[in-house]
């Protein structure tokens, strides 16, 4: 009983932390983008207002059950990945559900969200949504290849499928995996650009073409759920990268610093990039990132 309570409490705390940090990051993204663009920009807490407003909007549309389920699927994905990914090295404050094979499970669960979104968007009957979803799924096929390759390389190299094991390994040797398996890190970071859906890989919801794609029929509370899930998921992904490649974090401040540095990569790349078309994006991911992934596997097998 004690344990269950502790886990529930841990999950709640993790969620709140992830939500806050994720939303703040998005606000900082807007602020930094504005500074690059010669503007003052909104305050860093602007996205809290946006989320609150979206949550307080009324909804009077109904396209069918799946439309309501779509955002929920994304939220579930975000929360589930958050529960599996260890937040800190020391598991006392943020207990989570780690088990052997959670890396493989993560690979599966991270695809679940976009699929849910696809179902939800399909139900709305908006052609923009349908095309956006097709693009999103094709682009996912693109970046999943280097991402899976990088993870497989790690699994082979260190003979484990548990994130906690990898973290412990880094803590024991004192060497981050980004140095011991650099190719896997490169492949994973390049895949991350696609995962975050910032420019140049934001064709999914490109406003100039699809009027925000899968979300075009979702306003108000749907968008609220999607935005919150997006920020939680962003934090979860960044934490996973920190756990896997940057030696985890001993306390929240270090975690925030490390995740923010990682977050800067897609953000800054996005500010100065136009967007790729879908087939160009896929070609990009199947080029250098996949090559790095392959090298990582070769390194894992032969070294």
């Amino acid at each position: 009983m004690q344990e269950i309570l502790q886990y529930t409490w841990g999950a709640l705390v993790s969620f709140v932390v992830a939500f806050t940090v994720g939303i703040t990051y998005m606000g900082l993204n807007r602020k930094i983008t504005a500074r690059v663009q010669n503007r003052i920009g909104p305050p860093w807490y602007q996205n809290f207002f946006d989320v609150l407003k979206l949550g307080s909007k009324e909804t009077s549309i109904h396209h069918g059950v799946m439309q309501h389920m779509g955002p929920a699927f994304i939220m579930v994905t975000a929360v589930m990945s958050l529960l599996i990914i260890p937040i800190l090295n020391d598991n006392r404050f943020f207990p989570n559900l780690n088990f052997h094979g959670d890396l493989v499970f993560l690979l599966y669960i991270m695809v679940f969200g976009p699929l849910g979104m696809a179902l939800g968007a399909g139900q709305t009957g908006n052609p923009n949504s349908a095309i956006g979803v097709t693009r999103g799924l094709s682009q996912m096929v693109g970046f999943e290849i280097p991402w899976v390759m990088a993870l497989v390389a790690l699994m082979i190299q260190y003979k484990t499928t548990s994130i906690v094991d990898l973290m412990n390994l880094q803590a024991e040797t004192g060497r981050w995996l980004m140095f011991t398996s650099p190719f896997a890190f490169l492949a994973a970071v390049l895949a991350m650009l696609g995962m975050f859906r910032y420019a140049p890989f934001d064709i999914v919801g490109a406003p100039q073409e699809l009027a925000s794609g899968p979300m075009s029929e979702n306003g108000g509370k749907y968008l609220f759920v999607m935005m919150s899930a997006g920020s939680v998921f962003a934090f979860a992904k960044l934490t996973l990268y920190v756990d896997l490649f940057m030696g985890g974090a001993n306390n929240l401040i270090i975690l925030v610093v490390k995740t923010f540095i990682l977050y800067l990569i897609p953000m800054l790349y996005g500010i100065v990039s136009p967007r790729y078309r879908t087939e160009q994006a896929i070609r990009y991911f199947w080029g250098w990132p996949s090559l790095f992934g392959l090298l990582a596997i070769l390194q894992a097998v032969f070294l």
């Binding site: 052609p127 490109a206 100039q208 009027a211 136009p274 967007r275 790729y276 078309r277």
Partner: protein, 367 residues
């Protein structure tokens, strides 16, 4: 297996459309098989209203024909009225008109920078260039009193003389802009993704270009040197030294390169104008506009705007009101028959980029 074609409505409410119009596209997968332009959302019946205004009152309507660059319309109309009446324009006024036209050209190109790059998802350029455009609008405000609508070029000259110290302000702004243009180049033209997105997209056939009615930068992007400032010179353009840039290829990239060079040529023209501007009268007084009747006849004048050839066909029946003032906009051809042709076979991702590169401007079509 043949996929079923879906119909997509790009517009009228769509972030990717340039203004208030609609392109109905039939797509198979991501490829467009048929495109139809639907316009009329901005039809204000200007030409009908001008028949009810006198020769001078028309100017309030004229500048609203095309909002991003109103001056070529005023210029065309003013010149047509002068042709009809045989009115002389002082030399100084001609120089000031060229100055205003070129400033408007730069302002419009800066807006194009924003539109073209935003259509491909690069928002930073737009923020910079539209922000910098304000400096030109400031100049306009000082010169004419209005940021967007100027009503400055009038029959017989211009409405006001240059304010004191205006030349220096223009030169300063030009210096600043020249520096900024290099920044835009770094981010836009040196960008691999921008190049990949624009090269080979929206190709206009060089052989057919003139027949299809392509004008302005899109025509020069096909490798045809055609510019009304040179071919059918007006004001003092034949006394100024400038180059009409030409690029081969006929795709969005070529059109972008043409515009990139033209904005620099405009800066060059402005410098020359400020060097050579003569002193003297800026305005030949017109009679009381309420009683001002023009002789019977018709006149057609053409001006090179950023979108290409704009013209004004003015007919007078000898009265105080225009019998007919028919405006010819470049977008009238570009956005309808040409766009419908060009879009077939392209990817839906490129619709916004192609439209921006053609400089479609719906108010000019519908008037």
């Amino acid at each position: 297996m043949r996929e079923k074609a879906t119909t997509l409505y790009i517009g009228p409410q769509h972030p990717g459309i340039t203004g208030n119009m609609m392109v109905r596209v039939k797509v198979e997968g991501d490829t467009i098989v048929k495109a139809t332009t639907e316009v009329g959302y901005l039809h204000r019946s200007f030409e009908k209203l001008i028949e009810k205004r006198n020769w001078l009152q028309s100017f309030t309507l004229l500048c609203r024909f095309c909002v991003p660059e109103p001056d070529p319309v005023e210029e065309s109309y003013a010149r047509a009225v002068e042709l009809l009446e045989g009115r002389e324009v002082p030399e100084r006024a001609k120089y000031i008109r060229v100055l205003v036209l070129e400033l408007a050209r730069i302002a419009s190109y800066l807006l194009w920078y924003g539109g073209q790059s935003a259509s491909l998802g690069l928002y930073t350029i737009g923020q910079w260039s539209v922000g910098d455009r304000n400096y030109i609008l400031d100049l306009f405000e000082e010169l004419t009193g209005g940021r967007v609508y100027h009503m400055y070029i009038w029959p017989g000259g211009v409405r006001r003389d240059l304010p004191k110290g205006f030349e220096n302000k223009v030169l300063k702004t030009m210096d600043y802009l020249e520096k900024r243009l290099d920044d835009y180049d770094d981010l836009m033209f040196d960008n691999t993704i921008f190049r990949k997105r624009t090269q080979g997209v929206g190709i206009i056939d060089k052989e057919k270009a003139v027949e299809w009615g392509v004008v302005g930068p899109p025509l020069r992007g096909c490798g045809i040197r055609s510019d009304i400032r040179i071919d059918d010179p007006y004001e003092v353009y034949n006394k100024l030294d400038f180059v009409v840039p030409v690029e081969e290829g006929g795709d969005i990239w070529a059109r972008a390169l043409v515009r990139r060079q033209e904005i620099r040529q405009s800066i060059r023209i402005i410098r020359q104008v400020l060097d050579n501007i003569p002193a003297g009268k800026y305005y030949n007084k017109i009679p009381n506009p309420q009683k001002w009747a023009l002789p019977k006849g018709d006149a057609y004048t053409r001006t090179e705007a950023v979108r290409g050839e704009v013209g004004m066909y003015v007919v007078s029946d000898g009265g105080t009101h225009p019998r007919r003032a028919h405006f010819r906009g470049a977008a009238y051809v570009h956005a309808i028959t040409l766009l419908e042709n060009l879009l077939v076979g392209e990817n839906i991702s490129d619709i916004a980029a192609i439209m921006n590169s053609l400089g479609t401007c719906p108010p000019e079509i519908e008037r």
